[in-house]
Amino acid sequence: MTLNDWTREAASEGLRGYNYGFMDEGAKKEVRRSLLKAVAIPGYQVPFGSPEMPVARGWGTGGLQITLSLVVPDDVLKVIDQGCDGSVNAVNIKKFVNRVAGVEITADTEAASVIQTRHRIPEERMSEAQILVLQVPYPEALREVEPSEMETRRMHAEADYARMWLHLYEDIVRFGEISISYRYPVMINGRYIMDPSPIPRWDVPKLDMADTLFLFGAGREKRIYAVPPHTRVEPLEFDDHPFRVEQFPVACTRCGSTDSYLDEIIDDANGRRSYYCSDTGYCDKRSA
């Protein structure tokens, strides 16, 4: 599809007067400028305007704005929510972008040029031709230890991260291990501590020295940040308490995978537990 094709089709679908990609060109340019800055300073949170979207803030508007600013008509888009292509939110975002930007929709990780996601990174290793857009509810990794935005900004500026490390130290003293399961803080390129969004620890290593560009958007908090390809992403860890990913003692009930992140499903009727791949696209592909 070309831009002209889209404009012609949009008119017939009642989108006359709407700009390509829903957002006006000025707003898209602002997002792109912020993205460029974010890529130039890996892990640094770039403030941006975050205008109103036809989705409530907190429902993926940060990711949506990045996606809409990136896509061209011949892009192929995949949207997942907690690994699932079929959840209501994912489906709605997919339909919306398809309609306002004319992109093709897919559930296949390999086929997508842009993937927007919430809480997961696909199991299949993504290539340098692809972009992963992550929806972020709370962009500030230091918020746990410092309530003041001014102070966290200062801490980032001065790389003054002792308190974050102290938080992990106290965790180990209290619980014998680091108890963070989601939003595990990572050090980007040896400089900025970053919140990788609420992905499980399982997904954190996928960020490190990846071939793919990762873009993070927090619509409500109005922050954009990025991990460019081939960037060091190191989970905060101690020499004697190394970072560990989740362990699954079983295989996926459906596809038999032993190297994917599994969701536990409890049968309401008989209370039996079973495990399925959280990444449905991956599971579908293996089961097919």
């Binding site: 001065e158 790389a159 002792a162 102290l166 130290y169 106290e170 180990i172 860890e237 004697d240």
Partner: protein, 291 residues
């Protein structure tokens, strides 16, 4: 021997300041409040040298500017003007290279560095103990964690080694290492002060700043804390800047002493000379008022 630290004309104004501020305030005017513009002249044109392994006292009543002086030296409060130089010898090589010319034995003026660089200097060689332990400690974090925080800031990444270090520092400051996982809020005032000292020592500082560390403690507890500071000073060959309003503390710890009043140095000399042959009216009053 060359000074470890050279402070020149340290000045701190609270307020917008005017051309009259310095002339209209000071010990002769008996005020630190500029009558023309209302600016508080907390500290004006104060200079001193601190030598390696030396204990320098700063004595004066509250409002004399002695705490301001220490806070500026610790980069906590930005000086209005003035210069601070450190001997290059005591800095780690990478910092020394950043902060000083090759043939200059001293750093550039530390007060003009970015706060990031100031933090590096502070982490590398300063320790601070406050009168109020709430300023120096995180009361809800374990005592070991309080000590570990400085180590973490200096790049330590081994829990076991940090805990060993914290335990040995707590032992040195006479706190049972068995209590290292308790938060300081559980401790008495004297113990909190000792945890603070342990924390201040964690990065092996060359320079320890003590701001009224025994004020408000029971006499017997004061004595223990002072004895501890004395023995640590000797053991680690520390340079100490001791701020106190108490001539007893100054006499016990310091070889040289500066007397401050209304933000100015009114007198400086050997501690025994200051105490037995005070020159300035204010010092004489201070000495005569000793209990």
């Amino acid at each position: 021997m060359n000074p470890l630290l050279k402070a020149r004309n340290l000045t701190k104004l609270f307020g917008k300041g005017c051309s009259q501020c310095l002339e209209q305030t000071g010990p002769d005017q008996e005020t630190n409040l500029c009558p023309r513009c209302g600016t508080v002249v907390a500290c004006a044109d104060v200079s001193f040298d601190l030598y390696p392994n030396e204990v320098l006292g700063i004595v004066g009543e509250s409002g004399s500017g002695k705490s301001t002086l220490v806070r500026m030296t610790h980069f906590e409060w930005e000086a209005t003007s003035g210069e601070l130089y450190l001997s290059k010898d005591v800095l780690p090589e990478n910092l020394a290279r950043q902060l000083a010319d090759e043939d200059d034995p001293y750093t550039q003026n530390l007060l003009t560095l970015s706060s990031f660089q100031q933090r590096q200097v502070r982490n590398a060689l300063m320790g601070m103990v406050y009168q109020n332990p709430y300023l120096g400690l995180r009361m809800n974090v374990s005592s070991g964690g309080n000590i570990a925080e400085r180590l973490l800031g200096a790049g330590w990444r081994h829990i076991g080694k940090m805990r060993d270090r914290a335990a040995s520092l707590l032992e040195k400051t006479e706190i049972s290492p068995a209590r290292m996982d308790e938060p300081p809020k559980n401790f008495s005032g004297g113990m909190q002060q000792r945890v603070q000292i342990a924390k201040a020592l964690s990065n092996n500082p060359q320079l320890l700043l003590l701001d009224e560390v025994t004020t408000g403690l029971d006499l017997s507890v004061q004595a223990r804390v002072l004895d501890l500071i004395r023995s640590l000073q000797r053991e680690f060959q520390l340079s100490l800047l001791v701020v106190s309003h108490d001539l007893g503390v100054i006499n016990l710890l310091c070889t040289r002493t500066m007397v401050m009043k209304y933000g100015r140095t009114v007198e400086a000399g050997l501690t025994d000379q200051i105490l037995q042959d005070p020159q300035h009216r204010y010092t004489q009053l201070l000495v005569a008022s000793r209990l």
